[in-house]
């Protein structure tokens, strides 16, 4: 009974029949042909063999892949400014620095990092909505504006240093 279920499940994975999207074969399944053809047939009949060493190797591979992916995504964090170019004004940075290099660098960060990602675009959207109100609070409090100027200055400096390093 169990074997029959497995066989039916494996049969569905075959590339025979169905529309092209359903019958698409994954590259890793095709790669099994390079391992052993008998294995491919037996796997279809009986399902994937399960053993502790295989499971351990699979988990090790998943951990390694996750690290590999995380590293690449972080490394991709610094990219080029999108081809459509920078747009919009930076409320808080303009209030703190005018049109100084810090403002330019923070705009570059917005265009190169935030606008390229879904979560980043969401931050930019909410920032533009809250920006004028934040500016009103900052204008009313010179101490807070000084604190913000220092923090944004550090962030702009760090981003300038980081862009140079990444560009090497």
């Amino acid at each position: 009974m169990k074997v029959d279920k497995r066989r039916r499940r494996a049969g569905r994975r075959s590339i025979v029949g169905g529309n092209p999207t359903e019958r698409a074969l994954s590259a890793s399944r095709l790669a099994e042909m390079g391992f052993c053809e008998r294995w491919v047939v037996l796997e279809q009949r009986h399902g994937r063999p399960r053993s502790r060493p295989l499971q351990a190797a699979r988990e090790r591979g998943l951990v390694c892949h996750a690290r590999f992916e995380r590293q690449a995504r972080l490394a991709m964090g610094v990219g080029h400014v999108p081809s459509h170019g920078p747009k919009g004004r930076c409320f808080v940075a303009t209030l703190a620095f005018g049109e100084g290099w810090q403002t330019q660098k923070l705009r570059h960060f917005r265009d190169a990092v935030l606008r390229r990602r879904g979560w980043g675009r969401s931050i930019v959207y909410h920032y533009y909505r809250a920006g004028p109100r934040i500016c009103a609070v900052l204008e009313a409090s010179p101490a807070l504006l000084g604190c913000m100027r220092w923090l944004l200055g550090q962030a702009a400096w760090l981003w300038r240093w980081w862009s140079r390093e990444a560009g090497r």
């Binding site: 590339i15 052993c36 053809e37 690449a72 409090s141």
Partner: protein, 181 residues
């Protein structure tokens, strides 16, 4: 400072700390990523990470690639991570990367290089990677292989034994399969 200002200052501080952490982690990751690249991809740009591609031809393939680099000439190069003890390229790697190339070419309508790379972790911790070049199969060869797989699963052809008996030693079907000739 009133309560709103204190909260706002704390939020700003938290964002600033997060940003600094993100920049430092990113810088480290970028340096590590550059170190791990094959020498021929030094001037290439990392363009895709863990992205799925799909071709919808007569023999449709779906493939998830680990990394794709774009050379200054515009040609894309596939890179695949494999976690195994010995630094060797197997036939499975060649087939997998060739199928990936087929799916990518069909979806992106871009040129993908004939040479790809397999990265294998060095040592137990696997912090450094060994890059091994792979010459990919032609599209016709991949389609032939898909045709053969289909015929095998339908029972139209007899499955072949693996080239080496070493394959059988670690196989999970050793008991069901019988002895290799």
């Amino acid at each position: 400072m009133n309560m709103i200002e204190v909260v706002l200052a704390m939020v700003i501080l938290a964002v600033a700390i997060g940003f600094v952490g993100w920049v430092i982690a990113g810088r480290r990751a970028a340096a590590a990523e550059r170190r791990q690249r094959p020498a021929r991809l030094r001037d290439a740009e990392l363009v895709f990470v863990e992205r799925q591609f799909r071709s919808l031809g007569r023999w449709p393939v779906i493939a998830r690639v680990d990394r794709v680099y774009r050379k200054p000439s515009g040609i894309l190069v596939l890179v695949e991570l494999k976690t195994r003890a010995s630094p060797v390229v197997t036939r499975s790697d060649v087939i997998q990367l060739s199928a990936q190339r087929m799916a990518m070419e069909d979806e992106l309508r871009a040129t993908v290089a004939d040479e790809a790379y397999v990265l294998i972790p060095r040592g137990h911790r696997g912090t450094s990677l060994i890059p091994l070049p792979v010459n990919l199969m032609a599209r016709e060869e991949v389609e032939d292989l898909m045709r053969r797989r289909d015929a095998l699963l339908r029972g139209l052809v007899e499955p072949r034994w693996p080239a080496s008996q070493r394959t059988c030693r670690a196989c999970g079907f050793r008991d069901r399969c019988g002895r290799a000739p």
